[in-house]
Structures are given as C-alpha cells and as structure tokens.
C-alpha cells in the first residue's frame, strides 16, 4: 500500500525521489541490446498440442469419450462372442425364455422369440455405427475434396452450382428413400443411397468456406510466390478449415445413424437378416407399454451413441478452432 501512494505522488522536477534499493549508480544511461526487444515472451505455440489441451480440459468431454469407447468396444467385440442371429426362433416355444425382464441372467431381458436383447442391441449397434461412420467418411472425403476444387476453380463453379441447386432443393430423406428403394436392400446399397448426393451438401459448404479463404491476402501472397494451387489448398486453406470440417462430421454422424434407424423402421434399406437399432426399435415398438424395456433400451443405446458422438465432435471442433487457444 505504501508503494501505491508513493506512485501517485507528484514530484517537482529535479528533486530526489526517495526509493529503496536504488543507488546513485543506477542513474547512468545503460546500453541496450536491440535484439532483446524482438524477443517473444510467451511460451512456444503448437497447434495440435493446444487442440489436445483444450479438448481434454473438460470433464464432460472425457466422460463422453469414455462412454463412446465403451459403446464402440461393445458393439464391435460383443457380437463376435454372442453369435446373435436376428432371425433365430430357436427359443420361440420355450416359454421360460420369452419376455424375461432384465435380470442378472438376461441383462436387457428377452423378446417374443426368446432372444437376448443384450445381444441384439450390440449386434444392432454395430450395424448402425458402421453405417454412420462409413457414410460420414465417404461424404466428408468426397465433399471436402470436391468442395476445395469447386471453391478454387471458377470454371467448374457454374456447372456445380446448377447441380447443387437441383439436388439441394430436394429433401435428402426423400432422395435416400427413393434411391435405397431403387437399388434394393442391403448394407452397401444403403450406404450408396445415403452418400450418393449427401456429399454435395458438404462440398457446397466447403466451397463457400474456400471462397471466403481464397480471397484472403495470404493466399494472394502465396500466388505471388508461385505456389501451385494444389499446395495452396493443402497448406493454406484446408488447415484453416479443420474446425469447420470437424463440426460438419459431428453433425453428419448422428444424422446418418438417424437416417438408418428411420429407414429400417420403415422397412426400407437393410436386408431382412441384418440387425440394426432401427430395426429393433421398429420391431419392438408395439411393446412400448407391455414390455417397455424392449423398446426403451434400444432407444437409450441409440441416444447414447449419437449424443456421445455429437458432443465429442462439437468439443473437438471447438478445440480445433485456434481462436479458443489464446
């Protein structure tokens, strides 16, 4: 406090200001190292390091990450041992095996055919997750590449815009339903139907982002340095779009899973013998009041999958935005 009042005090010129620890010698002009002024005091910055730091900062994120890991492991390992078969009716006449409420023996209970819901859910989850992940990957890869080229090249812009305008006006669920109807049922057919036009939405989104980027001065600078377009895309533009791309993935993953669920619910899409969460939900929806566990457990698992994927995606997108690193 003493020091504070001292600072505020005003002294006449050419007086001796009383200060501690200062001698007469300190009042001599010292020479400066001009390089010293150029030093940067802040610790060294690493982009991915900061992303990781920011990402793992939140407890919710870590919880969701663990949840997602558990679900993924269960979905991809458990079915290998359970040998679950959707169409198995072996226990249909064994009344003891039918309609068991969740218990120590049947963790998630059993259904009308005496099949274990626990097995069914993980087998279904595997299909649903696979579809979501594969469809998102395809959409994102094609979308980002096409979008980057589309945004850079003025030549193909007009043509692509026309194509986009045609496709974007049609509800995507309608496209998926009609295509999966036309191509027939099946895992890969469904993925094809889903990704057939979905990439163009991503590509358009990327195009807009790239066009915003394209006119930025640092890209003009790269052009004056003779940098080829390909390198401009990979070094100058895509790195800026990581957070945008991650955001897009985090939205598209749950939506593809949701599409699969709904299509299976309608009875379009996957073949009859492939288990999926959508199929389980649709199959068990009549039991909503009589044997609610049959219906609500698959719904719950489905919700947990998409929520964890979505939240992790959003957090990752936030973390990969350097504005949050400061």
């Amino acid at each position: 406090m003493q020091e504070k009042t001292n600072q505020s005090k005003i002294y006449e010129i050419d007086t001796i200001v009383p200060i501690a620890n200062v001698s007469e010698d300190d009042f001599a002009v010292v020479s400066l190292n001009s390089k010293e002024n150029e030093k940067i005091d802040t610790p060294k910055y690493s982009y991915w390091g900061s992303v990781a730091k920011k990402f793992f900062f939140s407890k919710i994120t870590i919880f969701m990450l663990l949840l997602m890991l558990v679900i993924f492991l269960m979905a991809f390992i458990q079915p290998l041992f359970s040998g679950y078969n959707l169409e198995s009716v072996g226990n249909i006449n064994d009344f003891k095996a039918r309609y068991n409420w969740p218990s120590a023996k049947y963790w998630f209970g059993t259904d009308a055919n005496g099949n274990s819901l626990f097995d069914a859910i993980w087998a279904g989850a595997r299909t649903s997750i696979s579809i979501g992940v594969i469809a998102s990957l395809i959409t994102e890869i094609i979308g980002v590449i096409v979008g980057a080229v589309w945004g850079i090249s003025k030549k193909i812009d007009r043509l692509m815009l026309e194509i986009y305008n045609v496709i974007a006006n049609v509800p995507s669920l309608l496209i998926i339903i009609v295509l999966s109807y036309s191509f027939g049922n099946g895992f890969w057919n469904l993925i094809f139907a889903m990704t057939c036009t979905s990439w163009i939405g991503t590509a358009y989104f990327m195009r807009v982002q790239v066009m915003i980027m394209r006119e930025r001065e640092y890209n003009v600078a790269s052009r004056t340095l003779g940098t080829p377009t390909k390198r401009i895309i990979f070094r100058n533009i895509l790195p800026y779009l990581t957070s945008v791309i991650v955001t897009d993935v985090s939205m598209s993953l749950p939506s593809f899973i949701s599409y699969e669920v709904f299509l299976s619910f309608l009875g379009v899409g996957l073949s009859q013998n492939v288990p999926s969460l959508g199929r389980l939900i649709s199959q068990y929806s009549p039991y909503m009041t009589s044997y609610p566990y049959l219906f609500w457990l698959p719904v719950l698992v489905l919700a947990l999958i998409t929520i964890s994927l979505y939240i992790i995606g959003q957090r990752l997108a936030d973390a990969s935005d350097p504005r949050t690193h400061l």
């Binding site: 940067i40 060294k44 910055y45 640092y218 003009v220 003779g226 940098t227 080829p228």
Partner: protein, 313 residues
Amino acid sequence: MNNANRETLLSIKDLEITFGSGKSKFVAVQDVNFDIFKGEIFSLVGESGSGKTTIGRAVLGINPTSKGEIIFEGKQINGKISSKEKFQIERKIQMIFQDPSASLNERATVDYIISEGLYNYKLFKTEDERLNKVREMLEAVGLLPEQLYRYPHEFSGGQRQRIGIARALIMNPDLVVADEPISALDMSIRAQVLNLLKKFQREQGVTFLFVAHDLSVVRYISDRIAVIRAGKILELAETEELFKNPIHPYTKSLLSAIPIPDPQIARSRKNIIYNPNMHDYSIEKPEFREIRTGHFVYCSDSEAIEYKKNIKD
C-alpha cells in the same frame, strides 16, 4: 538526374483495367503511362478507390488488364503469356502486403512462410542451404533466428510486416510492389519498416513500386512520385520537384492535407479542397503532358500554358 540515361525496369503503356461487364462494368484504371527505372523507389499515391492498388496488382498479374501493355525487362507480361513464362516472372516481381495479420498464413511457421517461394522455385540445393538463407534473411529484417518455428500470431504487427518483407525479398526479386506496407501499422513502428525497405534498395539495388495514400510517408522514401485519382495519373515528378512545385490542384490539395506536427502552423493552415469539376474538358481534351523535364501533368492545352506560367524555380 537525366532520365534518358537510366535503365527502365518496368514500363506501363496506356493501361486500362476494368471490372465486371455489361451494366456493372467499372473502369478502375485508364490511360496510365509511366516507367520505373532500375533501382529506384517509385511511389504511386492516391486515395482509396483511386486504382493505385489495382495497378500494383496488375503488375503482379493478379488483376487482369483490359487494354495496354505492362513491359518488364523488355518483355510484355500482361495479357496472354505462357504459364511457364508467368512462373518465371512471378519470382522476379514480389509483393509486400498492406495488412500483416491478413497476409501471413497463420497455420504455418515462420520457417515455412519465408521458405515458401524457395520451395516453389527450388532455390536451394540442400536443406542446410535453405535454412541458412532463411536465417540470414531473418537477421536482415531484424528478427531472431530462434523465432523460426513460431507462428505469425505470436509476433507483433511490426514484426509480422518484417516477416512479410523477408518472404518477398528472399526471392531475390528485381521489383517489389509494396502495397501500403505501413498504413496498418502504428506510427512508432512505421519507421522500422520504411528503413528496412530503403536498406534493401540501397544495399541490393531492389526496385520498388511503393503504393501509398499518404504523401508525407512517400516523400522520405521515394525517388519519384505519381499522383493518381479516379484511375488516372494526374501528376508525376521527382519527389523534391513535386513537393516544391506541385502543379495539379489535386496534388496541392493532397499536400495541404498532410498533418503538420507543429501546433502553431497547423492551426493557421488552410485545407485546400479539390473540386474535380473545376476543369473544363468539354472542348479541350486533357492529356498527360511534360510541363518541364521529368514533370508530367494531366491537363488541357490552355491549362498547360497556365501551369507553366506559375512555375517558380
């Protein structure tokens, strides 16, 4: 100095640049003629929208031209040229940008940013050679070699602008277009950058096309100055000549607007406002004329006579 004996590096002839087409067509630059001599700093001064940046970018081949020629080292470089030729010219003409925070790739290290051109033209044999070149350049612009692997946003505005300068000058260019390189910087930092440009001119004989809106800055740095307004060059002269004998009323107005760092003079000084309607060009068409040696003004015949009368020496 006698201009006839000097080697011309860049020559611009009857340049016209338009944007858009049809109804929305907009002529940004018209009837522009000037030469830049080897080793000089030539300044193009005008307000925003005058077309000065457009000309600078046309020289770099970023803006297409609609008429006229840009001749660099005796060869036309605008219009249709092969991409190979263009690539070779791109190395020789470099640019320094206005906004140091927008013109550097924030996701790349200083090392990559400065080396970008070296990579493109394979201007090094070994990795060591490249690193040495970059270190030398860093030193030359007053930065520290230890900052090689830092990212642009870790630097201050003035430092970033020096990175931008390093990136352009490591290419060993013949001509550098500096597009308002200091107007986004704080007053106290500006001098650093100007000194640096001057140093490269002096020591390496680099030629500069310096684009600015402020005559006070330009006076110190440039050898010759062209004043541009609404896409047309109105006056061109050697720096001291222009300041001592400004002829065109627009130049006079620009000069009168320079803030004077002296309270007594500043308060009494009158601001000259230029009215473009003062010229009557309905009968006599204006031209770019040499009023006296090396001093060109855009005027009509009768104006030229008038101007010549008023020249003091």
